[in-house]
Amino acid sequence: MNSSPVKHQSSLGTESIIRLSEVVKGFAGLDVIDGISLSLKRGEVLALLGPSGCGKSTLMHLVAGLDHPDSGEIVIGGELVNGETGRVGYMHQKDLLLPWKRVMANVTIPLRLKGMSKAEAERIAAPLFGPFGLEGFEEYYPSQLSGGMRQRAALMRTYLYRRDIMLLDEPFGALDAITRERLQDWLSGLISALNTTVLMVTHDIDEAILIADRVMVMSEKPSRILEEEEIPLPRPRSREMVMEDDFLRVKRRIYSILRSGGA
C-alpha cells in the first residue's frame, strides 16, 4: 500500500488495538511472566524474540484469552478481555490439525463454528488453497501432508477465523528456506493489503526484521521485555535487504540484546 521508510508512522492507526499492561503470569511455583506491557496499533506487526521456555507461548495464550493473567490488563479494541476468547485469530506453535478431518474440513472449522453451511464455507475457502500452496490437497488427511504443508494449513485456518488481528506462534518453524521465504513474502503482502495487526513469535531474526514493524526481546523467565526495537527499514522489504548494511545493523543490535539477556 505504502512504501515510505517507516510504515507505521503513516498507515497505522493512532489508538492501540492490542494493549497489555503489567501482565503477570505464573504456574504452580513457577514465575513465568513477570510484568509485561506492550501495545500494537492497527496494522502493526510486532515480533517477539526470546530464549526457549521464557514464556512467549504463554503470553500468546493470555492475549488469546485462553488463560487469565495473574494480574495486569489485556485490552483489545478498547475492551478489557482478560480471559475472553474470540477476539483474535491464533495460530498455535503446534499445527493442531484434527487428524480425522481432511484438509478442507480442517481449514473450514472456524467458518462452520460461526454457523456457516458446509457449502458456503468451502466456497469461501476454495480460492485460498492456491495462495497457501495447498492446491490439490483439499481431500488429503493431515497425516498425508509434509510438515510444511501442515503448517500452511494451520495458517490458513487462522486466517479464515480472523484476518484483522492474528497471533502467530512460530508460524514458519518447520519450513525449508524457500517455502519459508515464499510464505514470509505472502504474509507481508497480506498484512499491508488488509491492514492486519499481527503479534508473532519467531526464532528467526531475519524473519523478524523482514516482516515486523517492531521487535521486542524477552528475557529468561521470569520474563520481562529487555528491549524494544523499531525496524527502520522501508517497505516492501525484499529478500536482498538481508545482506544490506541497514539490515545488518539492526540484526547486530538484536543479537547483542539477545546475548545480554540469555542467561
Binding site: G65, G86, P99, Y141, S143
Partner: protein, 245 residues
C-alpha cells in the same frame, strides 16, 4: 484357516481313536450332523438371541456413553462413580437376576439388561480413557474460536476418543452374544441359551456343541461387523497406514 482345519481334524481323530464317549466330547462330525439336523429348529432361537444381544449391545453403548459423559464433565462424579462401575462387574449376575425378573418382568428386558451389564464396562472404561487423552491444546484451539462446550465435545473430544472406544466396542461385541446366552440360560422361553440348556439337560452333548458352534459364529459375525464399522469411522487412520506401507 489351515490351522483351524488341522485343529478340527485332530479333534476328530482324537475322539475316534480314543473312542471318546459323546457326552464327554463329541466329534466334529457328530456336531456337524446335529447342526444340520437341528438347524431349522435353532433358527428362531438364533434370531431371538441375536436380537437380545444387539439390543443390549446398542443400549450398553448408550449407557456407557452416558456414564462416560457425566464422569467426564464432572471430575467429582468420576471419582465417586468409578468404584460403582467396578462393583457392577464383580457382583455375580446369578444372584441378582431374580431382582431383574421382579423389576423387568419375564420378557426380553431382563435378558437385555444382562447383556448391558456385561458389555457396558469395557466400553465405558475405554471411552473414559479415550476422553481423558484429548490433547488440551486442541481444546484450547477450539476455545479460542469461541466453540461451545458441546461443539468441543462433539468435534474434538469424541472423535479423538473413537480409537479407544472401538477397542472397547470390539471387546463388548465379543461378549454380547454370550451375555444374551447367559441371560437366557437364567430363564427364558426361547433363545440359544434355552436351546443349549434343553439339549444339555437331555444329555444330547452333540447338540450342545452344535449350539456353541452357532453362538461362536454369530459372535464372530457381530465382532466382524464392529471391526467393519471401525474401518468406516476411523478411515483416516487406515488412510494413514496405507500411505506408510
Amino acid at each position: 484357516m489351515a490351522a483351524g482345519l488341522l485343529f478340527i481334524l485332530l479333534w476328530e481323530a482324537f475322539c475316534r481313536l480314543l473312542g471318546l464317549a459323546e457326552y464327554i466330547l463329541p466329534a466334529p462330525s457328530a456336531i456337524t450332523a446335529a447342526l444340520v439336523r437341528q438347524f431349522d429348529l435353532m433358527l428362531p432361537h438364533i434370531g431371538v438371541t441375536l436380537f437380545t444381544a444387539m439390543s443390549g449391545f446398542i443400549l450398553s453403548l448408550l449407557v456407557a456413553a452416558f456414564f462416560s459423559l457425566i464422569m467426564d464433565l464432572f471430575p467429582v462424579l468420576r471419582r465417586a462413580l468409578y468404584p460403582y462401575i467396578v462393583v457392577s462387574q464383580t457382583v455375580p449376575i446369578i444372584f441378582i437376576y431374580p431382582l431383574f425378573l421382579i423389576w423387568f418382568g419375564f420378557g426380553l428386558t431382563a435378558k437385555v439388561v444382562v447383556v448391558v451389564l456385561v458389555c457396558f464396562f469395557p466400553v465405558a472404561v475405554s471411552l473414559i480413557d479415550g476422553l481423558q487423552n484429548t490433547d488440551p491444546d486442541l481444546i484450547d484451539l477450539f476455545r479460542g474460536m469461541r466453540a461451545k462446550p458441546l461443539q468441543i465435545f462433539l468435534q474434538v473430544r469424541l472423535p479423538g476418543a473413537l480409537p479407544n472406544l472401538f477397542s472397547g466396542l470390539r471387546i463388548a461385541a465379543t461378549y454380547s452374544v454370550m451375555g444374551a446366552v447367559i441371560g437366557e440360560w437364567l430363564g427364558a422361553q426361547t433363545g440359544m441359551g434355552v436351546y443349549m440348556m434343553r439339549s444339555y439337560k437331555t444329555f444330547n452333548t452333540p447338540r450342545v456343541f452344535a449350539a456353541i458352534l452357532v453362538v461362536v459364529i454369530v459372535s464372530l459375525m457381530v465382532f466382524a461387523a464392529v471391526s467393519l464399522a471401525e474401518r468406516f469411522f476411523l478411515s483416516w487412520k487406515y488412510a494413514n497406514l496405507r500411505s506408510k506401507s
